[in-house]
């Protein structure tokens, strides 16, 4: 019965700054918004799409998707109501698209609306989306917590430049979700209460929810696992020992699920040397003098013990991987070749490549030492990884200099800073990335030659390691024209292998799970890595 379980307390170690996911793309903000705003369809923990506001998932079979893959038509469930009691109509969906695609609105989810030609309301319950080109995967617009439907009536004054001055709308959007905002304190706490007009009259079980933000992962874990002050804590990634100790607190348990997040080491294929002119540094003009050699790259990969890294760094929340795309099953190549550390083999490869061991145990070639600058963002686990990797590489005669960069700078993408991951002014760097949704195509497509960050694109590309292979680019084009599921899987696996086990231009290390903590008294948790982590908050209940 709705509201009978009282209050549930959720802790996010990053505070929520807005409830409008179109104005922020932080996971914390889209997650929070997903309690209130809903898309037409979402993904379930298996990565399968399921209808939320839509009556059913459009497909070619039911005619929802046109043969030319250029249109998709959604039918809304009948009798849906906004929390203010007004009906949900196709106009709201049309408006939402208009809102995000308005020229100077600064919509953070614009990528979800890419390739959309027009959105129209066929009738009050039918929305039709037309794409400019055939879209093998049309489930971007209106799908998942990052592209929910806004109420036209509420957001009408907020189009374009007005978006940011609509504080009240952004903080208290009217939605269809299980909860509605009672009080919002930006970057601090959100108080929610059950939506009286939620479509399932029995849900949610909780009358109110407190969504608190701030602090760090360890403190969040402690609050659920040890002191029991909170019911659920998002992203409680702490070291395995601390995990053990927290479990001993007896108040809660950890939940984890694997998605596509992979911690990897990227090997710079271009020369980052500061002696090069600015503008040519780390660009395709100058191949990397050391890492340009595939044997060296292979040796660097073989020297790593990924098993140990996963165990030490993440415990239950990580497993070793050789793949850039570790999931979903249909796309995962499931390589295992790299999992075994092979120091001797690595040494042999380096010998073959002409790098001989010098006086101090460091290899050299033509009087040049085999020395690499290894950078990553500030994060205790990454620093531990750096230390381990440095040692392993040392064993095969590769010296490395470690460098850390503040996360906000490293990931900030500021073209003015020399320390961003995109600039990659170092030989190797480590970070983690994943892709949105279940389709790896855009993710893989980012690795083409022309997507390499460089001065001409303000260092904005995502081909971080400047991998460049015409065969790869060709295969990406092929993938974009393929709609057959099995075929797509094959192509994706090939692309994956080209980047990883074949070229070793990127060394995947650990596939990282979403890792959160829940109180033992909280039921209904089903951790979802493909969509908002709070995707099924309507099903949560208090264990009696």
């Amino acid at each position: 019965e709705r509201g009978m379980d009282g209050d549930v307390k959720v802790l996010y170690s990053q505070a929520i700054s807005t409830m409008n996911p179109y104005l922020s793309s932080g996971t914390k903000d889209t997650d929070a918004a997903s309690l209130v705003l809903e898309p037409l369809a979402g993904f379930d923990p298996k990565g399968e799409i399921f209808p939320r506001l839509a009556a059913e998932i459009p497909s070619r079979d039911n005619g929802g998707i046109s043969e030319d893959l250029k249109t998709i038509t959604w039918k809304l469930k009948p009798d849906l109501k906004w929390s203010d009691g007004s009906p949900v109509t196709a106009d709201d969906a049309v408006f939402t698209a208009q809102y995000c695609m308005a020229p100077d609105g600064g919509c953070a989810q614009l990528a979800r609306y890419e390739g959309v030609e027009k959105v129209e309301a066929v009738d009050p319950l039918t929305v039709k989306v037309t794409f400019t080109e055939p879209k093998p995967n049309p489930f971007t617009i209106f799908v998942s917590a990052t592209a929910p439907i806004l109420q036209k009536a509420q957001f009408e004054p907020c189009l374009g430049t007005a978006a940011s001055s609509c504080t009240d709308q952004n903080f208290r959007p009217i939605g269809t979700g299980p909860f509605m905002v009672k009080d919002f304190k930006t970057n601090d706490v959100v108080l929610l209460e059950a939506n009286p007009n939620y479509r399932d009259p029995a849900k949610p079980a909780f009358a109110t929810m407190t969504l608190k933000g701030g602090g760090d992962a360890a403190a969040a874990g402690r609050a659920v696992m040890e002191t029991g002050e909170f019911d659920y804590a998002w992203n409680t990634q702490v070291s395995p020992e601390v995990q053990e100790q927290m479990k001993a607190g007896g108040k809660g348990e950890f939940v984890s699920a694997y998605g596509t997040l992979v911690e990897r080491i990227e090997l710079n294929m271009t020369d980052p040397s500061s002696t090069l002119a600015e503008g040519e540094r780390a660009t395709a003009k100058h191949p990397h003098p050391i890492l340009g050699d595939p044997k060296v790259r292979a040796a660097l990969s073989m020297a790593l013990d990924r098993q140990l890294l996963a165990e030490l760094g993440y415990g239950e929340a990580g497993k070793p991987t050789c793949d850039l795309v570790p999931a979903p099953e249909a796309y995962a190549a499931n390589n295992t070749s790299c999992l075994q550390q092979d120091v001797e083999g690595a040494k042999k490869l380096l010998d073959e490549a002409g790098w001989t061991v010098g006086g101090s145990g460091i290899r050299e070639k033509d009087g040049k030492p085999l020395k690499l600058l290894f950078q990553t963002s500030v994060n205790p686990v990454r620093q531990d990884f750096q230390a381990l990797v440095k040692q392993w590489w040392q064993e095969i005669g590769v010296d490395s200099e470690l460098k850390t960069v503040d996360g906000s700078v490293f990931f900030g993408g500021d073209a003015g800073s020399p320390d961003t991951m995109q600039k990659f002014y170092s030989d190797v760097e480590m970070y983690a990335n994943n892709f949105d949704g279940t389709d790896p195509e855009p993710y893989l497509a980012e690795r083409t030659c022309n997507k390499a960050p460089g001065p001409d694109n303000q260092w904005q590309g995502q081909n971080i390691n400047r991998f460049c292979d015409p065969a790869y680019d060709a295969m990406v084009v092929e993938l974009s024209h393929t709609s057959d599921e099995a075929k797509r899987g094959e192509l994706a696996k090939k692309l994956n292998n080209m980047l990883t086990v074949e070229s070793n231009s990127m060394l995947p290390l650990v596939s990282r799970a979403r890792f959160s903590a829940k109180s033992k008294s909280l039921g209904g948790i089903d951790l979802n890595v493909w969509d908002s982590e709070l995707w099924n908050a309507s099903d949560w209940f208090r264990v009696k």
């Binding site: 807005t18 504080t167 304190k185 402690r222 993408g413 949105d436």
Partner: protein, 335 residues
């Protein structure tokens, strides 16, 4: 005195504008980007559109002047409207945070109570502990109490609050379950129960901060008391047959407080700046936390406004300290 204050205030204005400009340039030049936390999957064109929507496309001096106008004209007008119900500020653009897209001042107003209750109270308590300790250690110079005081305040000074705070949490929240480890900013004090809850959640952070403040202020107090205990007027008071209590707590204390009060006044802007680490440790989302998250998110308007307010407070409290000196010490009078 009034003249003196007026002159100082007037002189402070150009200086504050200069400070704000320095801060602005500093923020402008430092690396980082307000769109830093966007997922990497977002295409560059989208990012560029978002940057423009934030107003980042214009030249820095235009944005700076715009900000000055907003700070000195629009915001005061807005609050004036708010109080009087007029509509002067309608349609004017207020200072908007990049991060939450809400008016910066509203967020600050929201945060102020937390910061003032916790950090402010801890400062008060710190002062309240520091003064007696300082007085006693000076009165009994070189006694064991004095030695212990020195020792503890040095240790207190050399341990970071990210360490002492966590120790307190582990002991009192995790092990003993006496106090919560997370500060609930939504708690409203309505009755005895909620009042006690408020007290309980304030105990740990206030303790950490109060001890840290007390360590420093007690040193100052001690030094000042020692200076004054040797003065001739103390002997006069004793010769009048005053009891030790009166001698120490009336005659010496009043004089010793003069320099200490200014030290305390100059420490006060720090209260508004918030105790960043402690707020972080106890999840008190006050001004300190606001500042640090805004810096991480490169929320330029927020950081600029906060630091500028902080600068105003520093300048203001320096002035207050100067004036307090004049008020407390009749010898110093500003013509």
């Amino acid at each position: 005195m009034l003249n003196f204050a007026l002159r100082r205030v007037l002189m402070a204005i150009p200086m504050l504008i200069f400070i704000s400009m320095v801060i602005f340039l500093l923020l402008e030049l430092s690396p980082g980007d307000p769109l830093g936390d966007l997922p990497m999957t977002i295409p560059p064109e989208v990012k560029e559109r978002m940057r423009e929507a934030l107003g980042l496309g214009q030249a820095w001096y235009i944005r700076y002047i715009l900000w000055l106008k907003q700070f000195f004209v629009v915001e005061p007008l807005y609050w004036f409207d708010h109080l009087t119900g007029t509509h002067f500020a309608d349609g004017m653009q207020r200072i908007i945070s990049f991060q939450s897209r809400s008016p910066v001042f509203e967020v600050i107003a929201q945060r102020l109570p937390q910061t003032l209750t916790v950090v402010g109270l801890s400062y008060l308590i710190g002062v309240a502990i520091a003064l007696p300790i300082g007085i006693l250690s000076a009165y009994k110079q070189y006694s064991w109490f004095d030695q212990l005081g020195t020792f503890i305040s040095m240790v207190g000074f050399s341990l970071p609050t990210f360490f002492t705070g966590v120790v307190l949490i582990v002991v009192f929240a995790v092990k003993l379950h006496w106090f919560p480890s997370i500060y609930d900013t939504t708690l409203v004090v309505r009755d005895w129960g909620s009042f006690m809850a408020q007290v309980r959640q304030m105990v740990l952070p206030v303790t950490v901060l109060a001890l840290y403040n007390a360590a420093q202020i007690s040193r100052f107090m001690r030094a000042s008391m020692l200076d004054n205990l040797g003065q001739d007027y103390v002997r006069t008071a004793r010769a009048k047959g005053m009891s030790e209590r009166v001698v120490v707590l009336k005659h010496v204390l009043r004089n010793s407080l003069i320099p200490v009060v200014t030290v305390i006044a100059l420490g006060l802007p720090g209260v508004f700046g918030g105790a960043i680490v402690t707020e972080q440790v106890f999840k008190i989302n006050g001004l300190g936390q606001l500042l640090i998250t805004s810096i991480y998110a490169n929320d330029l308007p927020m950081v600029l406004t906060l630091t500028f307010i902080f600068a105003i407070l520093i300048v203001f409290f320096t002035l207050i300290a100067d004036l307090l000196y004049g008020v407390l010490d009749p010898r110093i009078r500003y013509e």
